[in-house]
Point group: C2
Chain length 324, copies 2
């Protein structure tokens, strides 16, 4: 996203918690750990103090794993500085126990809940950085605010659609990461594309079921942030949650798989717990998300979780397809 | 499907129009042209006369390209023989000009319109033949007929869901093959998974729009025969329509691409014309299907069709995402 905005002519200050990594990026103008081989625009400034990075910024983009959002943003004292036009969350998750979405957490810790929007959709970073065409949803209830952000960030290949349903867009992103782990498992177990198509279809059904229970707009899930992002997550080998699931499917334990990811954040690992909590409170059946939760946090083997899913599905055959 | 049914213990008679190919299959117990490396069940009988193959059959499965259905079935005089329990169409298409679906054509030429059901969903043949898990939709308005067929054909790995919306299931299958050509084009042009995710999402939208216009059940498109099959078609390299589109995207002309397919039927080639006709009659906007039609039947270059799609999408950004 820093590259997209810098190429559009914006003045971009990039902060990251790992100062060594930031310095490497600055020195090489390349993010070798995450986007190897991509030359980053010269104009990006790499800032080692988060406070300096956001000082006076008109637009702040937050791409911090859910569990670190509060601590990373807490010291910035944004509320005492000049008010930015908007803050955009690129984080997909739900905070455990509080069950807050990233946009809500950002609103709380910055003191600006009214200007926090969400960017979500099928946008694998490696392809975006290469200027391949992609479409994304920008969600904010205030249409004129959303339109003004859209005008600042959209390009011919980075297409930005608007949605007023911030809740639905964030819910879709969170559940997507859990389904991504299931899709990775299927891949690691060698199950093929027919099985992944069924996972996407049934995953969409349980996402819609949860969305209905929390008051999201059903139509959101048929859009880019829903079915679009589920597609990429199931089909592309580039996703981290899917890569994590693939390791589980090949037989690694949850801890071994985490270590093998080389320290890269796997949002779905945490989110599986949050979805488990939220589904229990709302009394919504989410068999795929539950299966992922059991494998990651309850010590189940992927094959046993799959066997339970198949057994359940055989019962569900009695119902008309798609019935929620 | 012959292998699935034979393995379930059914007595299966297999007919095909290419007698040489049929004899090769019988001799080698392998379909080397379409499913190389898969041993077919011993019990399948290879029958050179279609009339003999269907004589006395309780269940008839029709997997014939749309344009050959009438001629292939016309001489069978099914209506004068013992009535089968059911006939299932596995064909995805719409007849040009008449705009009939395969199930309707089969009903007309066999004289048994009341017992024709449809099987459709994310079921790449190569994976089915290998017993990978897969789910499919069986559509027939008569629930008890559908349930009795389901009981005969479902296995633990070949899972069969029921739907009463035969029209929606057939429409989804037909449009899917056209979107598959677009997805193949995107692949051939090197556009990446973000672009394919957008194609699937916007393709689903135009399928739903056409479905609404012809009176299908919207929920059908969120199921296996809709979004599930769109997934496989966009993600799997095994599909024929996608393979055809890929050749177009790499620069072959529609005729060159057809030749390069080695005589394998590409349903979407014909269906693009039928969808073009149907969308015009129903006054439904289907920009992706239209783009495919222009590339295949109007001499447009894929790049020009893509440029028009992108230009249109930039206008559509003004609307809330997902709005139909």
């Amino acid at each position: 996203m820093a590259a997209v905005l810098a190429k559009r002519g914006h003045s971009v200050a990039l902060w990251g918690h790992n100062t060594d990594h930031l310095r490497e990026c600055a020195a090489s103008q390349e993010n070798r750990a995450y986007l190897p081989g991509i030359k980053l625009p010269d104009s990006i400034r790499y800032i080692e103090s988060a406070k300096d990075a956001v000082a006076g910024a008109r637009l702040i983009l937050v791409a911090i794993p859910t569990r670190y959002i509060r601590t990373a943003l807490a010291g910035l004292s944004l509320a005492t500085g000049p008010k930015p036009d908007a803050i955009l969350s690129l984080t997909k998750g739900i905070e455990q126990h509080s069950l807050r979405f990233p946009s809500e957490m950002i609103g709380e810790v910055t003191g600006y809940p009214g200007i926090v929007g969400v960017l979500s959709g099928p946008t694998m970073a490696m392809e975006i950085a290469r200027d391949y065409p992609a479409s994304i949803t920008l969600a904010h209830p205030d249409k004129s605010l959303a339109e003004s952000i859209q005008a600042e960030i959209a390009t011919k290949t980075f297409r930005v659609y608007l949605s007023a349903d911030r809740l639905g867009v964030e819910l879709a992103g969170a559940v997507k990461n859990v389904i991504a782990i299931a899709a990775g498992c299927a891949e690691g177990m060698g199950l093929g594309d027919n099985a992944k198509a069924a996972l996407l279809t049934r995953g969409l059904t349980e996402l819609r079921r949860l969305g209905r229970a929390v008051g999201a707009v059903d139509e959101t899930f048929m859009g880019l942030a829903g079915v679009g992002d589920l597609y990429t997550t199931c089909a592309s080998p580039l996703g981290r949650n899917r890569g994590y699931g693939e390791r589980l499917g090949r037989g690694m334990s949850p801890d071994e798989a985490q270590k093998d990811m080389g320290g890269k954040a796997v949002e779905g690992y945490d989110t599986a717990v949050s979805i488990h909590e939220l589904a229990a409170i709302k009394q919504v059946e989410m068999p795929i998300s539950e299966a992922v939760h059991k494998v990651i946090h309850r010590g189940w083997k992927p094959h046993d979780a799959l066997r339970e899913l198949l057994a359940r599905d055989l019962r569900a055959e009695e119902d008309p397809e798609g019935q929620m």
